[in-house]
Amino acid sequence: MNLGSVFILLPWLAAPWLATRRTGGHCFAMAVALVELVLALVLRLAPGMLHDTSHALFIPMLGALWTLHDGLLGGTLAVLTALLLPISLAFAWRLPEFRALALAALVMEGALFGLFLADNVLMFYIFYEILALAGAFLILRTGHKSRTAALLFLLYTVVGSLLFLVALVGVYVLHGAQTGVYDFSVLILADTRIPATAGLWMFLGMVAGLAVKMPLFPLHSWASSSYGAAAPAGSIFLSGAAVTAGAYGLIHFAMPMLPQAALQFAPVGITLGAIGTLYGAFLALNADNLRHFAAYASVSHMNLAGLGLFALQAQAMRGGIFLLIAHGLVSAGLFGVVAVMEARGLTGEWAGLGGLFRRAPRLGAWMLFFFLAGMGLPGLANFPGEFLSLAGAFQVLPWAAGLATLGILAGVIYFLRIYERVMLGPLNAVLPDALADLRQGEWLLFWVLGLLTLWMGLDPQTVLAHLGTLLSAHGSEALGGGGHGV
């Protein structure tokens, strides 16, 4: 059992144990989450530890399934995931449905680690599905406990991922037919020669499966209901960590397998990303409560990240990935604010808010901070990602990137409008008199998130420098720079 396997399986083993408990389990879940965080950091900072593939579960024709690799991108995203879990748990600490949330989040964490470390595309797919199921469980058992939302979430993911599977099998069969080697390892599948048209269709299938998770524009409709239905603390994990799975699959599996098709798809991807960015922004502007607002803001950002990824251009891709990570932090902040407000009995409907700053200035300040980060203020986490994505995509498809740039403007419009609605103006009469400001613990959490956001904004190079090497990991020049240049 090497460290990577422990890393993946520990949360999965912890989850059933948690399930059998009738009460409590808070400290246990948190302890597991923190251990995972430490492990994630260890794996990220000392990447040699995974190189032992002797534990691979080798199965003829499917390849070595349980092979783990130490990709820098996967490791980085794993750190993000591992970081968001304790934060999510901390925000959920006082919820009655804490155990359900922790259970689902732990399973999701294991699945995410698995798919970040997996070398085998089939394994990735399996983890991806488990992730979706656990996510649906999270939506089902926390917050509004909405079955419809959970089902919608699951269906979108499952339909998409099965398309991914069909496309993947297409590549697999083609490769087998060409070389006689039937194997699902991405390193092997990346060598397949694929006819252009078929490749494009396959890529479309894969994009459908992966983009649905991000969620990219025409496949986004689950997002608002899911984030709106789950407990905000759960949405932190759902929107911050789980969405990275789709993008990761895109970068690590879909594009290296079908580089030519990816290049062909780039203009469409950029256009969709641009439309989605603005679409999410406008929907956020018209959102009917705070949860939906945060959801659509997240959708808008992820579409921008998608725009960067699809551009297949050095700056844009790194920007997209960076935005993915930054979005995790910012989204955690946004949903954290919502969680804090809901913990005080505020539902997030506009009618029940207004002038809150007077009662809770600390909360208001943090809310503004994350709103500013969300609108891409330079110096905060989102900015390098957004700017690089756009600057890169601009070199590929100027008009679409220009369109997406309007998202910068839209961001300020919707964020500030909502901030004004919630925090500024005269105190809303319906607000309870004894409305506590942030407690010490919450305040500390926000500081952690806030400092990370600030650090990511001011010194993105620490992260970006490492992302620089990740794309050439597969030896795929198409992604590193042969695509749309540097």
Binding site: A314, F394, Q395, I408, L409, M423, L424, D459, P460
Partner: protein
């Protein structure tokens, strides 16, 4: 070369950070002291800079690599040259003065700590903006000051209109930011660099006119929005909702000049496109005239000053547009001094009149506040560009005069001159309504030294700053233009008879304006002043039209996307359609499942039939 340049923006930023970290533990008073110290320290560093490198500043300080992906490379790096030195001097020193002034002015306010946080952050952001050695870092400062402007305009957030004004300011300036971002993308896509100096070299060697035109236009939009030029000036009058100190610092002395500064910095880019400069000049001249015409009809003291700021910024743009960026910068410096002075004084006036902004309700304040009256008058002199004894005479009139000289500049000159008349008019109308005439007693208000010193210093500067650079043909100091010439070149200067003509027309225009202003004040008292002219007091109805069109359109579009596309299209039609389609299909198929044995058998026979038909077709 000099590893301590970062200290200049570093001190105020540190102040903001300390404020955020420990603000809860300290008294607001202590916070204010700390906050004021920071720009003071920056000022000291700037002074040190002057003393060491003042003659020919060429400093660069790379702190760390910010973003570097491929050729996209942006450092956190600062550079100082002549232009920058002027700008940071203004930002740090005026910033410090305003911090000082605020100690008394803002005491006891309900958001004092927050106020100092943003004020510090603002000074820091402004310093970063001016010192940035690349466009991206400039953009950082650009956005940071925009944020502070928002937060400080909305400082008294409990009134919804204040919050709204702050938002409007941010949103409108963000239009420009977006354009600026696009311009950066374009320039990067074309020249693959973000660094100013490399960019200028690249532009000079490979001028791609189309790209430069579009990028220049976008940059100009950015500058216009930030500097509140027509047609994106609409946020500035509303942003007077903030404290007067904020107006003084952000909306007069520093932030709004960022647009001008940007144009000066990117002057080579604009200059590379024929005609672009003239457009800048036209924009400036028109705005100068337009805003002056609006200012003359305002009754809110701060709105007068706001329009006046817009108008004065127009002159600076005009300066850049006519190829005299150094004159524009000169006026920027002068304007920073007298407008900050005027705004702070206005703040006191408003406090005296118990938060009443209407100048028609004021009058005869000179007896009650003599000190205030004199410093205010100094500011008014400078604003109106009273010949010889005001700084503006040396900066603004020089711009107007130079405009006459450039090709296609007669129109600009005429507009600017008309604006100058109006400027003098509204300046003296304002002064006379407040300080002269029948006495309307206000609250007793005693200014402490913390307030008086900044006002006195600024008043002195408003009068004397012009003596740095005498007009051509005058014997006297000729310091400014030669000093700046290495970076900005020498502007075309009038000489001879034309020069005399231009100086005389300028002076006459001012005097004419003063006359009109005094009359206007009298008319106003009698109730039929310019403020009755709705067209002028409504700023040509431009703002109203803008508000009538754009926000509703945006909200309507958002509603349409939400209700029309998302709910109707995606949810109702697509998801609902799928659900109902499956439901109906299921129901139809369910008819076959009605428990009737014969029907089940029919299904089987039907299947057999289909297979047989199949066989028949096969044979």
């Amino acid at each position: 070369m000099s590893e301590w340049l970062w200290l200049i923006p570093g001190f105020p930023l540190l102040g903001a950070l300390l404020n955020a970290l420990f603000g809860g533990r300290c008294s607001p008073r202590g916070m204010g002291r700390m906050a004021a110290t920071m720009p003071f320290l920056s000022t000291l560093v700037v002074l040190a800079l002057w003393s060491t490198h003042g003659r020919d500043p060429h400093l660069h300080d790379r702190v760390w690599t910010w973003i570097a992906v491929g050729r996209f490379h942006a450092d956190i790096a600062f550079q100082v040259d002549q232009v920058t030195l002027i700008m940071i001097s203004i930002a740090a020193f005026v910033g410090f003065l305003i911090h000082l002034f605020s100690q008394q002015f803002m005491a006891g306010d309900y958001g004092e700590r927050r106020y100092y946080f943003y004020l510090n952050l603002f000074v820091g952001g402004m310093l970063v903006l001016t010192m940035a050695d690349n466009l991206l870092l400039l953009y950082l400062g650009w956005e940071a000051v925009g944020l502070c402007s928002y937060a400080l305009v909305a400082h008294w957030y409990r009134k919804p209109e204040n919050a709204w004004a702050g938002r409007k300011a941010f949103v409108v300036t963000r239009i420009g930011d977006t354009a600026l971002a696009l311009a950066i993308f374009m320039l990067f896509a074309e020249y693959h660099t973000l660094n100013d100096q490399q960019l200028f070299v690249a532009v000079a060697t490979h001028p791609d006119v189309l790209v430069l035109t579009i990028a220049g236009a976008l940059t100009l939009i950015g500058a216009i929005a930030k500097s509140a030029q027509f047609p994106l000036h609409i946020w500035l009058p509303d942003s007077m909702a903030g404290p007067s100190t904020v107006s003084a610092l952000i909306h007069a002395a520093t932030m709004v000049t960022a647009g001008v500064y940007l144009c000066i910095r990117l002057y080579p880019v604009f200059a590379a496109v024929p005609g672009m400069l003239w457009v800048i000049g036209l924009s400036g001249a028109f705005t100068a005239f337009y805003a002056a015409s609006c200012a003359i009809a305002q009754v809110d003291i701060k709105r007068v000053l706001a329009y006046s700021t817009i108008s004065q910024l127009g002159y600076m743009f005009l300066g850049v547009g006519i190829g005299a960026p150094s004159l524009g910068l000169f006026h920027l410096l002068v304007h920073a001094c007298f407008k900050a002075l005027l705004f702070m004084s206005a703040g006191v006036v408003i406090s005296v009149y118990n938060e009443d902004h209407d100048i028609r309700h004021m009058g005869g304040l000179k007896a009650q506040q003599p000190f205030l009256r004199w410093v205010f008058l100094a500011g008014i002199f400078a604003l109106a560009a009273v010949p010889v004894v005001s700084a503006s005479f040396y900066s603004k009139d020089a711009i107007i005069a130079t405009a006459f000289m450039v090709p296609g500049g007669k129109l600009l000159w005429a507009l600017a001159l008309l604006g100058a008349v109006l400027t003098a008019a509204y300046a003296f109308r304002l002064y006379f309504l407040i300080f002269e005439g029948p006495v309307t007693p206000g609250e007793p208000y005693r200014m402490g030294w913390g307030m008086k010193i900044p006002l006195a210093l600024l008043a002195a500067a408003s009068i004397g700053m012009g003596w740095l650079q005498f007009p051509p043909g005058w014997s006297g100091p000729d310091l400014w233009l030669p000093w700046l010439a290495p970076v900005l070149g020498m502007p075309p200067m009038p000489s001879g008879a034309v020069n005399v003509f231009l100086q005389i027309t300028g002076s006459v225009a001012t005097l004419l304006g003063i006359g009109i202003g005094i009359k206007a004040a009298q008319w106003e008292r009698r109730g039929h002043g310019f403020s009755r002219l709705a067209f002028l007091s409504g700023a040509w109805f431009f703002d109203a039209a803008f508000l009538r069109v754009f926000p509703p359109a945006v909200y309507a579009f958002a509603r349409f996307l939400d209700r029309g596309v998302e709910r109707t299209g995606f949810r109702w039609a697509f998801l609902g359609g799928l659900r109902d389609g499956f439901g109906v299909g299921s129901q139809l198929l369910g008819i076959g499942e009605n428990g009737l044995l014969s029907r089940y058998a029919s299904g089987m026979v039907l299947g057999l039939l289909i297979l047989l038909v199949f066989a028949w077709g096969w044979m």
